[in-house]
């Protein structure tokens, strides 16, 4: 059966993608604006990138954010993978319903609630707010996303592969590390990247749980944006967009290549 | 002088029903020089075809031969690149699928999963804006016709394959279309159910007097059900005939090989004598004698002789001195099928013949064994000459 795109389909795709990408494109273009006024084109210039790298507060915030994102994404990947295994391989254990609820709830719950509740918790146990509280908060939120990503892969996983490994004499733990883990690795990597991005991006939860010396990039950007537009923020945004685009594109290319390789090996 | 057609009464055709033989009969469906291209590929190539009212018509061919495209053009899902299609004298050009008095039973059945059996059957009637009680009455009638009254409230996911097939049929029949199109109607059923359903479809068609156009790649299905069969290959119709005509008088080697089993012996025409053709072939010492008077051939022409396996006789003793069409070889394989036994005989030329023998008695031990030297003969009128 061949599906054919009607004029309506093409138009809605073009308009839809224009809507999605035009704002980002304009942001990138105006980061090369010579004028200080963000919305008036004053010629091409890269001066704001220079200004950005001289802005120590912003650079410091970027460094903090990066550390938090790496640490919380790593923790979340381990926890989320364990949770996914628990949900797919452990049948009906006691409190499974509560567990599933706790995995799904943080994903749909408004960030203001998650942020507030974690803050009140940290205050109650007397933990000083700062780098670690943000890290713990981000780990909690992002592990749920990792769980869902890994779980969906595990559900389509062919159990007979594991059974074959055990039949050939591999004990369960060896089977897990030599068969299961390599096969679900792409979903774990995807989960890690998702967790990393979410942490990098978060403003609300970080704002609640931040403390002295732990100002993240979104918090810094937010406070600057509230004061007005600044071409420096455009430059910073462009760099972030560039990194993300590069990451997504290279991940796609890599996974395409490994797919091609496995197909070639199959022949 | 050509003799009257030899096979006019052969095959399981309703004897009195043959509108295609009547020069005054008006066809219900007419394809006139229809061509359909998809990009560079030609799916249907300058094809003309008439289908008459009340016919059970089969489009038969291997996959990719264009039969489904032909049917989809009739339903209105594809449009001819050239040529025109008329229904009861009216051109169908520009008529969308939902305005055509033609309904289709899809190969996948395409039952709406979010509607019950009765809602599915009522769907087409609702589109016509019929009053509620009339719809209910018609749905009931259709449910009775396909014997599904008890499953009216079920959803398609709760039905077996055979039941789904019946719902799809009832849904397509509910609007009493002028033409019912059936795309591989029995393809998804297992062998036993398929056979039963073939006869049921014939009964329903007979009862409603509707025109059925069936697309199938299964020659047995086409042979059983159809009044006429159009065999298609590469976007063209190779032959249109009754099942008997297709089987006993195939026009080309492709048809002979596609419909049923056949032995092909290649050779060259020597000449004609008393209305019988003599053909020299490497498979036999003496020239073969073939009674196929309708062919127009010239001496030296390369031809293929087609003989059905059941029309050959196999024996261990040499035939009498006056015998014609004698081939010698040794038994290569024996396949016992219960009702039939299949012998594969290797000729001196290296060609392998397939000969079948009906097992008429339970206790006669086969006198023919592996590696036996055997003689295979066939009557002059058992064979068909196909010009190469």
């Amino acid at each position: 059966m061949t599906r054919r795109l009607s004029l309506f389909n093409v138009t809605s795709l073009v308009i839809g993608f224009a809507f999605l990408y035009l704002p980002i494109l304009l942001l990138v273009v105006y980061s090369f604006n010579a004028s200080r006024l963000v919305t008036v084109w004053g010629g091409f210039s890269t001066q704001w990138y220079g200004a950005l790298f001289r802005n120590e507060a912003l650079m410091e915030a970027a460094w903090v954010t990066l550390r938090i994102a790496l640490l919380s994404a790593s923790l979340a990947t381990v926890l989320g993978t364990l949770a996914a295994l628990a949900l797919t391989r452990y049948g009906r254990f006691t409190g499974r319903t509560l567990f599933t609820g706790m995995v799904y709830a943080p994903m749909v719950m408004p960030e203001v609630i998650t942020g507030l509740s974690l803050l009140l918790f940290f205050v109650a146990i007397g933990l000083d707010r700062g780098f670690w509280t943000i890290t713990l908060a981000h780990t909690t939120l992002t592990m749920c996303f990792v769980t869902v990503v890994v779980q969906s892969r595990l559900m389509t996983f062919d159990r007979s592969l594991e059974e074959a490994a055990m039949d050939l004499g591999a004990p369960p733990l060896r089977t897990f590390f030599s068969v299961t883990l390599p096969l679900i690795a792409p979903s774990i990597v995807a989960g890690f990247l998702l967790a990393f991005t979410l942490s990098l991006d978060d403003l609300v939860i970080a704002s609640f749980n931040t403390g002295p010396g732990a100002t993240t990039l979104p918090i810094r950007i937010y406070s600057q944006v509230r004061l007005g537009l600044s071409p420096e923020i455009n430059a910073a945004s462009t760099i972030l967009i560039g990194i993300v685009t590069l990451g997504v594109v290279s991940a796609t290319v890599l996974s395409k290549r490994s797919l091609l390789r496995s197909q070639r090996n199959a022949h | 002088m050509p003799r009257p057609p030899k096979f006019a009464s052969v095959g399981a055709v309703r004897r009195s029903f043959a509108p295609w033989a009547d020069p005054d009969a008006k066809p219900l469906i007419r394809f006139e020089n229809v061509t359909k291209r998809f990009g560079d590929a030609i799916a249907v190539n300058d094809l003309s075809l008439d289908v008459f009212e009340g016919e059970f018509f089969c489009l038969l061919g291997p996959s990719g031969c264009g039969k489904t495209t032909l049917m989809r053009m009739l339903a209105g899902f594809e449009h001819p690149s050239e040529g025109r299609i008329t229904l009861a004298g009216q051109s169908l050009a520009g008529v969308p699928p939902y305005r055509r008095p033609v309904n289709m039973m899809f190969q996948s059945y395409a039952l709406f999963p979010h509607m019950s059996v009765e809602k599915n059957i009522a769907f087409g009637l609702k589109q016509d804006g019929l009053p509620k009680d009339e719809i209910a009455a018609r749905v009931g009638e259709m449910l009775r016709l396909v014997q599904l009254e008890r499953l009216a409230k079920r959803y398609s996911s709760q039905l077996s394959g055979g039941q789904r097939q019946r719902v799809a049929l009832a849904r397509a029949l509910a609007k009493k279309p002028k033409v019912l199109l059936l795309d591989e109607p029995l393809g998804a059923l297992d062998k036993k159910l398929r056979e039963e359903t073939q006869f049921e479809l014939m009964d329903i068609q007979h009862e409603l007097g509707m025109t059925f156009v069936v697309v199938t790649h299964d020659q047995e299905e086409a042979m059983t059900m159809a009044d006429r069969i159009a065999v298609m290959d590469h976007g063209r119709i190779v032959q249109v005939a009754t099942p008997g005509g297709i089987y006993e008088q195939p026009k080309t080697r492709f048809i002979a090989e596609f419909v049923g089993d056949v032995n092909i012996l290649e050779g060259n025409v020597l000449g004609q004598e008393n209305g019988l053709w003599h053909v020299q072939t490497p498979s036999a010492e003496a020239p073969l004698t073939i009674d196929d008077p309708d062919e127009v051939l010239h001496s030296g022409q390369a031809v293929a002789i087609a003989v059905r396996p059941e029309k050959m006789v196999i024996q261990r003793n040499p035939p009498g001195p006056g015998a014609v069409n004698v081939l010698t070889g040794e038994v290569w394989d024996i396949g016992y099928l219960g009702d039939w036994t299949v012998y594969r005989v290797k000729l001196a030329s290296g060609a392998i013949l397939r000969v079948t023998l009906a097992n008429r008695s339970r206790f006669v031990e086969s006198p023919i064994d592996w590696d036996d030297q055997v003689y295979v003969t066939f009557a002059p009128d058992a064979a068909v000459i196909l010009a190469e």
Partner: protein, 301 residues
């Protein structure tokens, strides 16, 4: 069943226990604390609420709890109208998202199979770039002297700049823009699975394309419509960044209210009460979402 070695049973048992404990400590307990604090009194002390957490004295613990904060919420029109306008804005945004998202998802689902992964990736890609940045980008577009007004003036559509930034319209644009992937992806997932022959069957049975869309396509994509709507509605109700950056001072939303109670008024108990209120509003849709999700997982097996 053979007895497995003790060490293996231990590692086996830890797999569910570790994430379970983590979520219990960092999700469930904080949640109960919010509930408790919403029932306590504000204090000027640091932390700015009166600790009523004396386990030795359970009587005084319960005496310390009251519904005072909720009485404040009920007594102040501000919270009622913030709640109502949050729900209204989220609901209208969800409808707009459906209107914008459906044609896109439909277009992707009808595209040739080899192009679909790319189109889906293009829908997801903006989601990977910062939410804050994407909202920020709209400020420059919607400002009175911004790019939209410049373009419209150039084209001669308008002579005076239209005021969109700091209005509710800007909030709708922002929500639709930010949540579009969440609407398109579930819609696409259900549209892509749909069998084309069902539409052909409907046409064959006399249904016009428009009717076939409503009687076949829409009902069959209902799981996607529900999932997409909930995925957008639920976070939109509690949205803070979009109304704060794009909305005007008159754009009331409950998430913003919580933020200002917390950061500006430093009234933690009242902020907690607002959080509980917000959660109560969302319980119904979250339960529905869980149900839909569970059914989706079920059918995937």
């Amino acid at each position: 069943m053979t007895r497995r070695p003790f060490a293996r049973r231990l590692t086996d048992g830890l797999v569910p226990v570790i994430p379970y404990l983590w979520l219990g400590i960092f999700f469930l307990v904080p949640f109960l604390i919010v509930l408790k604090i919403s029932l306590s009194d504000p204090a000027v002390a640091q932390p700015p609420y009166k600790p009523v957490f004396e386990l030795s004295d359970i009587v005084s613990f319960f005496q310390g709890l009251d519904l005072e904060n909720f009485e404040v919420l009920a007594g102040d029109d501000l919270y009622l109208s913030a709640t109502l306008s949050s729900v209204r804005i989220a609901a209208l945004s969800t409808v707009l998202l459906l209107l914008v998202g459906f044609p896109i998802a439909y277009g992707i689902a009808r595209a040739p199979a080899r192009h679909r992964p790319l189109l889906v990736a293009l829908v997801i890609l903006p989601f990977w770039t910062s939410f804050l940045i994407r909202i920020y980008a709209w400020i420059a577009i919607l400002k009175p002297e911004g790019l939209l007004n410049q373009a419209l003036t150039e084209l001669g559509v308008i002579t005076d700049p239209v005021h969109i930034l700091n209005t509710e319209t800007a909030v709708y644009i922002g929500i639709v823009y930010a949540y579009l992937p969440f609407m398109v992806l579930p819609l696409y997932a259900s549209l892509e699975k749909m069998d084309d022959t069902l539409l052909e069957a409907a046409l064959d049975l006399g249904s016009t394309p428009w009717r076939a869309f409503w009687t076949i396509t829409v009902p069959l994509s209902m799981p996607g419509i529900i999932a997409g709507s909930l995925l957008c509605f639920i976070p939109a109700v509690g949205e803070f960044v979009i109304p704060d950056l794009l909305g005007g001072s008159e754009t009331l939303m409950i998430g913003r209210q919580l933020w200002s109670e917390f950061f500006s008024n430093r009234d933690w108990p009242l902020a907690s009460a607002v959080a509980i209120l917000l959660l109560i509003i969302l319980v119904a849709p979250i339960v529905v979402y869980r149900d839909v999700e569970a059914r989706r997982v079920e059918t995937q097996r």
